[in-house]
């Protein structure tokens, strides 16, 4: 595409079908302890 470059991202709607294994890290546990964000947690499913 000439006008738009799309970054590679996880297909969010697809993750609805087979996500939710729960093995990922509890987001607040890792470094912040005072503000929540989940976007920086990697998925544990390989």
């Amino acid at each position: 595409m000439k006008h738009i470059q799309t970054l590679e991202t996880r297909d969010m709607a697809k993750s609805l079908q087979n996500g939710g294994c729960g093995e990922c890290q509890t987001s607040c546990q890792s470094a912040c302890k005072t503000s929540c964000g989940i976007a920086n947690q990697p998925c544990e499913k390989k």
Binding site: M1, K2, H3, I4, Q5, T6, L7, E8, T9, R10, D11, M12, A13, K14, S15, L16, Q17, N18, G19, G20, C21, G22, E23, C24, Q25, T26, S27, C28, Q29, S30, A31, C32, K33, T34, S35, C36, G37, I38, A39, N40, Q41, P42, C43, E44, K45, K46
Partner: protein, 479 residues
């Protein structure tokens, strides 16, 4: 829903429900805005041609190409994707009661007396105390018993200052290691410390046993020592920095974070991050806005907010400069894994406080997280009898991003999952509320983090290794 913004010369479009991120030229940026505004299709091309009439390279054919790109992405579900999750959110009332992470308050006491401490100098507005080995052991057993089929279990040694109870920390790790295999579990320990109690033995232990260490340092000496003082009022910088440096040097690449707090007194907090990187040699950095009562002298103000936005943007741009120079630093809130990040369940359910994540006091009481400890209304139960306040647990189970009216129109809601329940409670009196100040900071951080991803994708000077051709596009193993 989409979100458009410009930063560092990039035009960025985020498609909220697909999670797609697009870097676009000016024409596409304007075209997408017109489509988003509900402009009749027949009016879009004439309006764009009128706007760009001084630009001969923007022809009618070019505009048609651009609109075709938008149509193609829309059809592929990567632009203007519908919200297909909202009905699923209500299934969270049937979430399992699996617990996978505990914040162990092994010491409700501290050897520092930091004036801004949300934990009230480690005592959480209650009695001082140390967790016994027996209580800690029972907490680990409680975690194993309640973790279902989850393999990875997280335990954070927290306080107060956990190293004031180091012997028990060691004993608990040894106990966990002795039982994890038979239960099919993998314990990941984290240590959060102010550094005063670090010894060679602590370094050896933490670097062998702890998946991550969080080292509290606010940055420049004068900034750190303004709040991070000992009981006699002496600053801690000179004592803790050499210990942190020794620990990190011996860590052999394992995870760590230098974790600072910034306040109204140092809204120029990037200078503290750069001090930690350039003067002290640390590379893994985290810096948090202070959590304190509104009106306190150290509390961040509305007037601080534009300055903070500038700081976050400055940090992102400087991180690109460092990356190009081959000296990258990591900032916790700018870490984004767009290709292998959280699934949508995580993005809706959030941090898991009160359900899969709980805090344990030195006496074995359970709270939804460390920030609720000391508030009797939020006691969930204890490690011997389990969660007895099931109504409270159910309230937390349902406290997802779709349960927060204030999140309804926010483009960043699948990056924060509705935010911190404790912050919401303290700001609004309700865990379903929204801590708007924190939200504004969060949105700015995500904009910066996404800009970094765009730059890493588009700037040839940022030598990111290309993904193998067969890695993701058609793999789907995540799903």
């Amino acid at each position: 829903m989409i979100h458009q913004y410009k930063m560092n010369g990039y035009n960025i479009v985020v498609d909220v429900y697909s999670g797609s991120v697009h870097a676009v030229d000016e024409l596409a940026y304007d075209a997408i805005a017109l489509v988003d505004a509900g402009t009749p299709r027949a009016d879009i091309a004439p309006r764009l041609l009128e706007k760009y009439k001084g630009r001969p390279e923007v022809t009618a054919a070019d505009v048609a190409d651009c609109l075709a790109d938008i149509d193609e992405l829309t059809a592929a579900g990567k632009l203007f994707a519908p919200d297909v999750y909202k009905d699923y959110a209500f299934d969270f009332k049937n979430r399992s009661n699996v617990v996978k992470a505990l914040c162990l308050h092994v010491a409700h006491t501290c050897n520092l007396n930091c004036e801004y401490c949300f934990a009230a100098q480690g005592k959480f507005h209650g009695e001082a105390g140390l967790m016994s080995f027996e209580t800690g052991k029972r907490a680990l057993d409680f975690l194993i018993e309640n973790s279902g089929s989850r393999r990875n279990l997280e335990v954070d040694f927290f306080g107060g200052e956990p190293l004031m109870n180091f012997e028990v920390c060691k004993q608990l790790v040894a106990y966990a290691r002795s039982v994890e295999k038979q239960h099919g579990k993998n314990f990941r320990f984290t240590l959060t410390t102010n550094g005063i109690g670090i010894t060679d033995e602590v370094i050896e232990w933490a670097n062998r046993e702890c998946h991550n260490v969080v080292l509290s340092l606010d940055g420049r000496k004068e900034v750190n020592d303004r709040f991070r003082k000992d009981l006699a009022g002496n600053g801690s910088y000179d004592r803790i920095v050499p210990k942190f440096q020794k620990l990190v040097a011996a860590r052999g690449g394992k995870g760590y974070y230098m974790r600072g707090t910034f306040t109204h007194y140092n809204v120029d907090f990037t200078n503290d991050l750069f001090h930690m990187a350039d003067v002290l040699g640390f590379r893994e950095l985290s810096m948090e806005p202070v959590v304190t009562a509104p009106g306190s002298p150290e509390a961040l103000t509305e007037d601080d907010l534009p300055k903070l936005f500038d700081q976050y943007e400055l940090l992102a741009k400087d991180m690109l400069r460092r990356e190009k120079a081959g000296q990258p630093i990591t900032f916790y809130h700018y870490i984004l894994d767009l290709a292998h990040g959280p699934c949508v369940y995580k993005r809706i359910a959030g941090c898991g406080s009160g359900t899969e994540y709980m805090a344990v006091t030195p006496w074995g009481d359970l709270y939804p997280c460390h920030q609720f400890v000391g508030d009797a209304a939020y006691k969930l139960g204890d490690i011997w009898h389990g969660v007895t306040n099931t109504a409270l647990r159910d309230e937390f189970k349902l406290c997802n991003v779709y349960a927060r009216p204030g999140c309804k129109d926010c483009w960043a809601r699948l990056y924060c999952a509705g935010g911190c329940a404790a912050n919401a409670l303290h700001a609004t009196g309700d865990i379903h509320g929204v801590y708007e100040y924190g939200c504004q900071v969060f949105r700015k951080r995500i904009e910066c983090a996404l800009m970094l991803k765009v730059a890493e994708s588009l700037d040839p000077a940022l030598a990111r290794p290309a993904a193998p051709a067969d890695s993701c596009a058609d793999c789907g193993s995540c799903e």
